[in-house]
């Protein structure tokens, strides 16, 4: 990339930040996040209170404390990824065709910064924003859980990193889809893809629970087609990797039982996936009449 293109890319990324800061709709995100965190804190409080009672009843056979903590953080991750995905889509759904239709894209494309740099700048800006968003939300949720229930995930940061990876992939897919579809259809398609990913997780879970290997394999395949789901599962899995015994088994059977360990090469796969998405988006954008 030439120096001019790199500079242009950062100008566009900063422009994306400013757009995010100035648009009134963006206020929705912090408000929703605050509401979610408040509710989550309340939930954590009551859940641990209830767990306190059961621990004694179960006679210490299961580490209920860890079970509750992991389940709560897992729930939070589910919600945070959802919020992050909506945020990512919101930042990118109009990147190409949506903005071309309103006439905002053309004034930028005719500047000497090259189309790939423009696309990269938009992706970079959106990816950084929603990546930071989900990571901060994850840390806050973990801190709430730790303060109220005195349970900390181990490893601490890996699940958050998995969320960041997942939401960055959603943003990349959304940029790609925006090359082909106008704003609203593009947003709908990406959110449907997101739902498809969740469904894959669910399929895998049912497959696990009923020992249906066809279903398990299908779920795994879909998770690779939309690897934000695989990353999310990996994150959940690492959440419980520090646990042992029955508690771990129970957590994995729980609402996030689909949590699979895809191995650390999943990160490499996701990197390759991102590069492929970027290449396809750049190629299609270069050929487009605006």
């Amino acid at each position: 990339m030439t120096a001019g293109a790199t500079r242009g890319m950062w100008v566009i990324a900063r422009y994306t930040f400013r757009e995010c800061a100035r648009r009134r709709v963006t206020v929705v995100v912090p408000v929703l996040s605050a509401i979610f965190l408040a509710l989550y804190g309340l939930g954590v409080h009551f859940a641990f209170e209830a767990a306190h009672g059961t621990t004694r009843a179960a006679g210490g056979l299961v580490d209920t404390h860890a079970l509750v903590g992991a389940t709560l953080v897992g729930l939070a991750m589910f919600a945070i990824l959802f919020l992050g995905a909506v945020f990512a889509v919101f930042l990118t759904f109009n990147t190409v065709r949506g903005d071309a239709e309103t006439g905002s894209l053309q004034t930028l494309v005719v500047r000497p910064l090259s189309r790939p740099a423009l696309l990269a700048g938009r992706f970079l800006g959106a990816g950084m924003l929603c990546g930071v968003y989900v990571f901060v939300m994850y840390l806050v949720a973990v801190a709430i859980t730790g303060r109220i229930g005195d349970w900390w995930p181990h490893p601490l940061l890996l699940p958050g990193a998995a969320l960041v990876g997942a939401v960055v992939i959603v943003a990349a897919l959304s940029v790609l889809v925006s090359v082909y579809l106008t704003a609203i259809p593009s947003g709908i398609v990406v959110l449907m893809l997101y739902l498809a990913g969740l469904l894959a997780g669910l399929l895998g879970q049912i497959g696990d629970a009923l020992s249906l290997s066809n279903l398990q394999t299908t779920g795994r395949y879909i998770a690779f087609v939309v690897p934000f789901e695989a990353l999310y599962q990996q994150g959940l899995n690492s959440l419980t990797s520090g646990m042992t015994g029955l508690a771990r088994v129970i957590v994995q059977l729980g609402p996030f039982g689909g949590a699979q360990d895809f191995g650390s090469w999943l990160w490499l796969y996701c990197l390759g996936y991102l590069l492929a998405v970027a290449a396809l988006a750049t190629w299609s954008f270069a050929r487009r009449d605006l």
């Binding site: 030439t2 053309q106 004034t107 494309v109 000497p112 910064l113 009449d289 605006l290």
Partner: protein, 281 residues
């Protein structure tokens, strides 16, 4: 030196429509070229190809010697699209600043305020685009196109949202830019606009150039009409210099002459003559 804009045999086919069918034109030196034609003639398509926004089906375009869409070509042009929208959450000054950064202009705050003054928006530097009228946005669009003093301006219907006074402002501005050495390709479906300022007019219709030349020459004299006692006599090939002779001859023939008129066909007449009526397509 390569001409600022050279278009050769350019054709563009959108799925089912032939927007351009072999257009050639050149813009060089400090000149104001008007691209005139009815709606759907292909004017916007031509300009978008020159900016690298649209890919031609065939033909060749060179902007300052470079292929359109390359950084070198983009750096040589200032473009105002027919339909454009600046982010409503940016102020006028911020829009210009963004474009300065993208264009690599080092003009700084000085250039921005000078441009806002030039287009008559000096009072609205801090105003957000979302709170501007369409006319103000169009003025801002013109200022944006002028950032970095590009040698070639491509303006697509730059006065469509302006009132008559605003249109005159733009015309004056174009004349001033030409005096500073800028070349302008001005798209318009408004005859008056083109007729008043352009050095050269290219009329396109249904994707083809149908007439070309300087407006005065295109609107050539249309002969002489002389009203006599026996009716109006036409002399289609006669010009102003022929009038005394014609009158003397008629009088000598015993005619009584009441009125002599020199007929000028306006650019409008030429335009209506060369452009096929919509129904006829």
């Amino acid at each position: 030196m390569a001409p600022l804009l050279e278009v050769r045999d350019l054709a563009k086919r959108y799925r089912a429509t032939d927007a351009l069918r072999g257009v050639s034109l050149r813009v060089e030196g400090a000149s104001l070229v008007g691209l005139l034609g009815p709606n759907g003639a292909g004017k916007s398509t031509l300009v978008k190809i020159c900016c690298g926004l649209v890919h031609p089906t065939s033909g060749e375009v060179r902007v300052a010697g470079h292929a359109p869409g390359t950084p070198e070509a983009c750096a040589a042009i200032g473009y105002l699209a027919e339909l454009f929208r600046f982010p409503p959450w940016l102020s006028a000054d911020e829009v210009l600043r963004l474009h300065q950064e993208l264009a690599g202009s080092r003009g700084g705050a000085e250039e921005r305020s000078a441009l806002l003054e030039l287009v008559g928006l000096g009072y609205a530097a801090g105003r957000r685009v979302g709170e501007m009228s369409k006319g103000m946005q169009q003025r801002l669009g013109i200022a944006q196109a002028l950032i970095g003093s590009p040698p070639l301006l491509l303006l697509d219907e730059p006065t469509s949202a302006l009132d008559p006074a605003g249109r005159r402002d733009v015309r004056d501005l174009l004349v001033e830019l030409r005096a500073r050495g800028t070349s302008v390709l001005l798209n318009s479906h408004l005859l008056s606009e083109v007729e008043l300022v352009c050095d050269r007019v290219v009329i396109i219709d249904a994707g083809r150039v149908v007439a070309e030349g300087d407006p005065g020459r295109l609107a050539r004299a249309g002969g002489v009409e002389i009203e006599t006692a026996s009716g109006i006599r036409h002399f289609p090939d006669a010009g102003r210099d022929d009038i005394p002779g014609l009158v003397a001859r008629l009088v000598a023939e015993g005619e009584r002459v009441y009125e002599v008129r020199q007929v000028r066909s306006t650019l409008e007449d030429v335009y209506l003559e060369v452009v096929t009526p919509q129904e006829g397509r």
